[in-house]
């Protein structure tokens, strides 16, 4: 097994035992990037010099006999909508092609405090709007399992292709979980407020959350340990005493009550995906969990409500990109208004403009009550569905996406069909609850993801449930051939 294929936990063990140095690991990963990224196109920006310096610092600590924390020296990719001080943060948009923020995201700051080795910035749909990284202004990221298929985003593709060990992703309607599912990885959207949003370029503030994409559940727990916690720079950040999430890595689901909402296994779910999920729930039964069908009756309203709320917030959050202070500015504007209009028309891609228009419409006078407020009411109903379900169940299970990774270009011309890829994940963002995607099997050589959902701040329950599955199934041990 190659170094770039190992988990963070395994690499940590080897660094501590002096079997390998952090610089060797970093070099192995950069070597891998040089070999395969031409094909995968996961990265927008690489930070090799800076990364090797950090790796060297870890090795110096080891040489000095100092203790290191689990993520020290671990190569981690960062989605390019998370700010790194002095490093360009493009959001895969022409609008920010040259934007270098003066500030670090809190999640980045925390990883750097752990002396993680931040490799570079990964591709995404422009401003995280999309489900496949096809809306990137720069290039499309390919799925390491099949080059003609969508990866979801660059962070997941990088980890799956061995171009990173772990990654930071962002999840507004399911990007972390969907990308993890498409690439055969573990991805978690933590509870809203559990990870600071400071430094995450906003798409839809009430839905956005930063989270980890990893090879296995153990690494997911290690990443959570590093990035969770209260941040005074984010008013929505919650002040909880963060426990050690690795304590939840327990291979035991006996007596656990698992609900399978029938709305998530309807006809829009591909039969092979449904079968994989059914096989997984049978697995849980065989391990001693109590699995039964349940219902989240308002699920069908989630998609329209989500797109109204997300678009409304996006139209507001993206108003600041006007060519005045940073980013793209149209050449030779006639006046201020012309500068605004042309900078935005030329700087934003089609999908972003579509959502800005939708969001502007939704919030405009006369539509606010009939559209935006109605969507908020639906959001409340969806939350209540979850509340009721979690009175009875410890965990809910669903597919992460209706299908395995779809073909690049397949849905690109049809935004509504593209939005459908998120039907299983976006209710979670509306509800603010945590959810995790874990590989549940393979269909035609493509990974299928299973989504586990729990009540707010019960990330530990997700880890325990996922860990038990992982320990009793072989899916996480597969690597794409590249």
């Amino acid at each position: 097994m190659q170094l770039y294929q190992m988990t963070a936990r395994e690499l940590h063990r080897r660094i501590v035992n002096k079997e390998v140095s952090a610089v060797e690991i970093a070099n192995a990963v950069y070597q891998r990037i040089e070999t395969v990224d031409e094909k995968i196109k996961a990265y927008i920006t690489l930070l090799k010099e800076r990364a090797l310096e950090r790796a060297g610092a870890v090795d110096a600590k080891i040489a000095a006999g100092e203790e290191i924390v689990p993520l020290s020296g671990i190569p981690i990719a960062v989605k390019d909508n998370v700010c790194m001080s002095g490093v360009r943060t493009t959001c895969a948009s022409k609008m920010l092609y040259n934007f270098v923020p003066p500030h670090n995201a809190t999640a980045v700051e925390k990883l750097e405090a752990n002396v993680a080795v931040l490799l570079g910035k990964t591709n995404l749909d422009e401003f995280a709007m999309g489900s496949s990284a096809e809306n990137s202004a720069f290039f499309v990221t390919k799925n390491p399992w099949a080059a003609d298929r969508a990866a979801g985003d660059g962070s997941a593709a990088a980890v799956a292709a061995g171009e990173a060990i772990c990654a930071l992703g962002s999840d507004t309607g399911g990007a972390i979980r969907r990308s993890a599912a498409f690439c055969g990885l573990v991805g978690m959207k933590p509870t809203y407020g559990a990870v600071s949003r400071y430094g995450l370029v906003a798409h839809a503030s009430s839905l956005d959350q930063i989270g980890p994409i990893t090879r296995d559940v153990t690494d997911c727990a290690l990443m959570l340990n590093a990035i969770c916690g209260h941040d005074s720079r984010d008013s929505t950040s919650v002040n909880l005493s963060v426990s050690d999430y690795t304590e939840y890595l327990i291979n035991d689901v006996r007596g656990l009550k698992i609900g399978v909402p029938k709305e998530y296994l309807g006809e829009n779910i591909e039969p092979e995906v449904r079968e994989a999920i059914e096989a997984a729930t049978e697995k849980y039964s065989s391990l001693g969990a109590l699995v039964e069908e349940t219902s989240l009756p308002h699920t069908k309203y989630a998609l329209p409500a989500y797109y109204l709320i997300a678009a409304a917030e996006a139209s507001s959050n993206l108003a600041r990109y006007d060519g005045t202070r940073y980013g793209y500015r149209a050449e030779n504007p006639e006046d201020v208004l012309d500068m605004f209009i042309r900078s935005r028309s030329e700087g934003f891609g089609e999908e972003v403009q579509r959502r800005i228009v939708l969001g502007t419409y939704v919030l405009s006078e006369g539509n606010y009550d009939t559209h935006y407020l109605e969507a908020l009411k639906v959001r409340t109903l969806i939350k209540q569905d979850f509340d009721r379900a979690f009175e009875k169940y410890d965990v809910l299970i669903s597919p992460t996406a209706p299908s395995p990774a779809f073909k690049i270009g397949e849905k690109a011309g049809d935004p509504v069909q593209m939005y459908q890829s998120d039907i299983c994940t976006l209710p979670v963002n509306l509800g603010g609850i945590p959810a995790l995607s874990i590989p549940a099997g393979f269909v035609n050589g493509l990974p299928v993801g299973m989504q586990l959902m729990a009540k707010p701040f019960n990330e530990g329950m997700l880890l325990r449930t996922a860990y038990s599955f992982e320990q009793n199934t072989p899916h996480h041990c597969k690597y794409p051939e590249l």
């Binding site: 839809a204 720079r233 507001s316 940073y326």
Partner: protein, 478 residues
């Protein structure tokens, strides 16, 4: 010609005197270099989030209480969207749906007596930056943006349309400034923009209750401008109606030089602000105990203080109103009284000579070099007869420029009043000897002539002779 009445409402923006901005930790200091007090937050950098300054909420509650408002149990921030290069996020964080304070009032004095002007609401919001044009806005090749002011904390106080005349509008604005200044939450300096005023005006035939179409006059930066612009706008609207025209709902600006209002934008160009709750800020549940503790620290407000001056010090109402208009003046007055407890004399000096000199030098009482104790000391010297009223005027002017103690000035310039009868008598003899004509006139019954003689004695004594004694001695001798 029909009789018209105006319906006027004011929106007043008050900048709060906090050390840091409303949603970040940048400093609020006035008059620094452009963009000296900015950070990624108030520059609207991607990924940066607003964090509310608690002091702003406290000040807003304080102001709300002073304006007799109900303080909300639940308050929240909303985004107000419009594009302008000085607005970093192209939305302003403001309050629309759940303002911090509502349903208050301010009492003003009118020709017909006291009148209550209702306050609809007072809400918190952030200020925008400002554009600096090269020369004229219309012809400038480019404009520069200074974001120092972006994110400064404001409260916007919206009145009910209870105001009927330009004088009332001015009185309301002045009263409101006075109250806010008392609370200490703002300097309310119109010239620095820490108090800014928009006026909504409509007219209707007397006796009708339906509201006419209104216009809004933006950014009036003096009380005089509030009154003048409102006067102009009322007449303009009446003229249009009289000629059979109709009023266009629009935003207008006041040209102070020309004394007219000019159209800025019409209703068709009006913004749809697309308010919605700011998802980056959590709603606030206001703790009642906190509100009560703020209430407990409110100072005596101008109206209470005015009444007390009338009842406790026996001052005329006019004096009481003037003295209590600003907290600084009222405090100055009371500090004087501690040393020289004669309210009317102190009031006369403050309203007279002190105000005259402050106005002439364009100064606030807080900048005055004469400390209240020094003024009181001077008044004591007058009272004891050490200096005459005339000398006091000279001493006072010297105190105003140098800030020296009155005793020092009197000593340095040898200004002590001569009350020694012998010394004055000698001068009187001399003056009588030198002015036989006037002496004769007086003796022939021309009483006026004595005034000339008194003047001559005063002149000879360099103004130091006690005038009462001079008069008495002259009459005796003649």
């Amino acid at each position: 010609m029909a009789q018209y009445e105006a319906v006027i409402g004011l929106e007043i923006h008050v900048e709060l005197k906090t050390n840091t901005k409303i949603f970040c930790t940048s400093a609020t200091e006035f008059g620094v270099d452009p963009n000296a007090h900015v950070c990624p937050g108030c520059m609207g950098m991607p990924g940066v989030l607003p964090v509310l300054n608690k002091q702003v909420v406290e000040y807003a509650i304080r102001a709300g209480l002073a304006l007799n408002c109900t303080i909300a149990d639940f308050t929240r921030f909303d985004r107000k969207h419009y594009y302008y290069p000085d607005l970093p996020c192209n939305y302003q964080i403001s309050q629309n749906y759940f303002p911090i304070a509502k349903n208050g009032y301010v009492e003003i004095e009118t020709e017909k007596g006291k009148k209550k002007i209702g306050i609809t609401k007072a809400h918190m919001e952030e200020d925008a930056g400002k554009l600096v044009h090269q020369g004229n806005i219309a012809t400038t090749p480019y404009s520069l943006v200074d974001y120092n002011r972006a994110g400064m904390p404001l409260i916007e106080i919206v009145s009910e349309p209870d105001i009927r005349t330009p004088e009332e509008a001015r009185a309301y604005a002045e009263k409101l400034r006075s109250i806010i200044q008392y609370t200490g939450v703002s300097d309310c300096r119109m010239e620095e923009g820490s108090l800014r005023c928009d006026v909504n005006v409509s007219v209707r035939p007397v006796g009708t209750t339906e509201l006419g179409t209104k216009t809004e006059i933006k950014n009036l930066n003096s009380f005089k401008a509030i009154q003048k612009a409102t006067e102009y706008e009322i007449e303009r609207q009446i003229d249009i109606l009289e000629e059979g025209g109709s009023i266009v709902q629009e935003t207008r600006t006041w040209d102070d030089n020309k004394g007219i209002t000019i159209s800025m934008r019409t209703k068709e160009e009006a913004h749809d602000y697309r308010y919605f709750p700011d998802p980056d800020l959590v709603p606030l549940v206001i703790d009642r105990e906190w509100v009560e503790s703020i209430k407990a620290t409110l100072p005596e407000l101008p109206d209470r203080r005015k009444s007390r001056y009338i009842s406790e010090y026996g001052l005329p109402e006019y004096d009481a109103i003037i003295l209590t208009q600003t907290k600084e003046t009222a405090d100055y007055f009371e500090d004087c009284l501690k040393v020289f407890p004669n309210p009317k004399t102190v009031s006369n000096w403050i309203m007279g000579d002190l105000t005259r000199l402050l106005n002439a030098n364009n100064m606030e009482i807080s900048e005055c070099k004469i400390k209240p104790q020094q003024l009181a000391e001077m008044l004591k010297m007058m009272d004891r007869g050490t200096i005459s009223g005339k000398i006091a005027k000279t001493v006072f002017e010297e105190m105003f420029t140098s800030g020296k103690d009155p005793g020092t000035i009197v000593k340095e310039k040898g200004l002590v009043q001569i009350s020694d009868e012998g010394a004055i008598a000698a001068i009187v003899e001399e003056v009588i000897a030198k002015n036989p004509k006037s002496v004769e006139d007086f003796r022939n019954g021309k009483d006026k002539a004595i005034g000339f003689l008194v003047g001559q004695v005063m002149k000879a004594s360099k103004g130091k002779a006690n005038p009462a004694l001079v008069n008495k001695l002259l009459r005796e001798k003649l």
